[in-house]
């Protein structure tokens, strides 16, 4: 189902872009995640599950825009956890579901027509982070909205031939979500590989 939704979303791109005039940029990416610090303590494994949607409005060599992303991290582990007066043994299934809603600003480097163009950016906004542990027949869930910031760098490579409006892009982002509720701050590197349309 998600596959068909993603495919339908890309078909809508021309209409969205045409309605907004030139200088608009719309991207869709496959998003991977490498957890660090508290996030790695909870779910250690590198994640290949995630996707993102991005819109940017250009002005010269700068742009501002909006980004929506989704990453799923998980880890399976077994063993004994000890507490002050207790110890619990069982298989644990840990999940970290993160949805990010971020405003963005980017500045672009050189790169002539048809050449790769590097960029630096900063994103800021909110992260909804749901952390869940399934152990035995129990389930413990912790859900919080976090404020966060995410500096990133990347580059886009325009396609050739008749596809002047299309480009591939890749970017690496350091996500930092401030502590919220009972959850400590969360951090991970996002690695995106995407496809963009510009008008």
């Amino acid at each position: 189902m998600r596959v068909w939704i993603a495919a339908a979303a890309t078909l809508l791109v021309p209409a969205v872009v045409a309605g907004q005039g030139r200088g608009k940029w719309f991207g869709m990416n496959w998003s991977m995640a490498a957890p660090i610090e508290h996030t790695k303590d909870f779910t250690n494994d590198y994640s290949f599950r995630g996707m993102g949607l991005e819109w940017r409005q250009f002005s010269g060599n700068k742009s501002f825009g909006f980004n929506a992303g989704w990453n799923v991290l998980n880890e399976e582990k077994s063993g004994t956890q000890t507490f002050q007066q207790a110890a619990i043994n069982g298989d644990q299934f840990r999940y970290n579901n993160t949805v990010s809603l971020l405003l963005s600003a980017h500045v672009y480097g050189g790169g002539g027509s048809g050449k790769a163009r590097p960029y630096l950016g900063l994103k800021a906004g909110t992260y909804f982070i749901s952390r869940r542990v399934d152990v035995g027949l129990w389930q413990i869930t912790d859900e919080n909205w976090h404020w966060g910031v995410a500096p990133e760098f990347g580059f886009s490579v325009p396609m050739r031939g008749g596809f002047q409006s299309e480009a591939f892009y890749a970017q690496v982002r350091y996500n930092y979500a401030f502590s919220a509720g009972d959850a400590p701050y969360q951090s991970w590197f996002g690695i995106d590989v995407g496809f963009a349309v510009r008008k």
């Binding site: 998600r2 993603a6 339908a8 078909l11 996707m51 207790a86 619990i88 043994n89 035995g136």
Partner: protein, 219 residues
């Protein structure tokens, strides 16, 4: 060119969607993965001071008294109790006949097969084990449990659970007419599979109970 562009974007969308959703993380796949072994102990207790124990020779079904129905299968009570006794003996304890010799600790075993039951509540237990001749003076009808870790640990259980409780009759409790639990274990899991498979899992989990309670050693 328009059709090519539409085709390209559709393919990219399919690819991104497939990569993002293609391998959503899995979860519990086997019944044994639902097994959970929890142990609790009272801090400050010198377990090495206890050398002897005795235990009633039955597993009590505590579900009915808790207000729920229960279908606890007593078919393997003997094997389960023998397994627990063997675990205690391996830790250095000696079983004595409480009707003749006062043991240092008393071990009682209970079980339940209903959902959402909190094990660590101070329900009267005399009705279950009161018939046993090993209780020291002071216990009687209306006696309840004293769990030092409660209510810190609130335990809800689903499906099958087995509880092992170690009582020290020499320790004073906050209220009169209570039995001081210095150590307890809970084994919880789904009751699926053949009786033999369930018994094998119970045996494995009883081994785990003692493996994660090394402080129980008598020396």
């Amino acid at each position: 060119m328009l059709m090519q562009r539409v085709g390209l974007r559709f393919c990219v969308g399919m690819l991104v969607g497939a990569l993002a959703a293609g391998c959503y993380p899995g979860g519990i796949e086997t019944v044994s993965q639902t097994d959970l072994v929890a142990t609790f102990f009272q801090k400050g207790v010198d377990f090495t001071a206890n050398k002897t124990f005795d235990m009633p020779d039955s597993i009590v079904d505590i579900g009915v008294a808790a207000g729920a129905s229960s279908t606890l299968n007593h078919k393997y009570d003997t094997q389960i109790l023998a397994k627990i006794q063997a675990g205690l003996v391996a830790l250095g304890y000696t079983r004595v006949d409480a009707t003749a010799t006062r043991p240092d600790v008393i071990v009682v075993v209970s079980g339940i097969t209903v959902d959402n039951y909190s094990a660590w509540v101070g329900y009267p237990w005399w009705g279950y084990w009161g018939w046993w001749g090993g209780w020291p003076a002071g216990y009687g009808a209306g006696s309840t449990w004293y769990y030092p870790w409660s209510p810190v640990v609130v335990t809800g259980y689903t499906s099958g659970s087995l509880f092992i409780n170690m009582i020290d009759p020499d320790l004073a409790t906050p209220q009169p007419n209570q039995a001081f639990s210095i150590w307890a274990a809970a084994i919880n899991g789904m009751l699926e599979g053949t009786d033999a498979e369930i018994l094998a899992r119970i045996n494995t989990n009883i081994d785990q109970v003692f493996a994660q309670s090394p402080y129980l050693r008598t020396q």
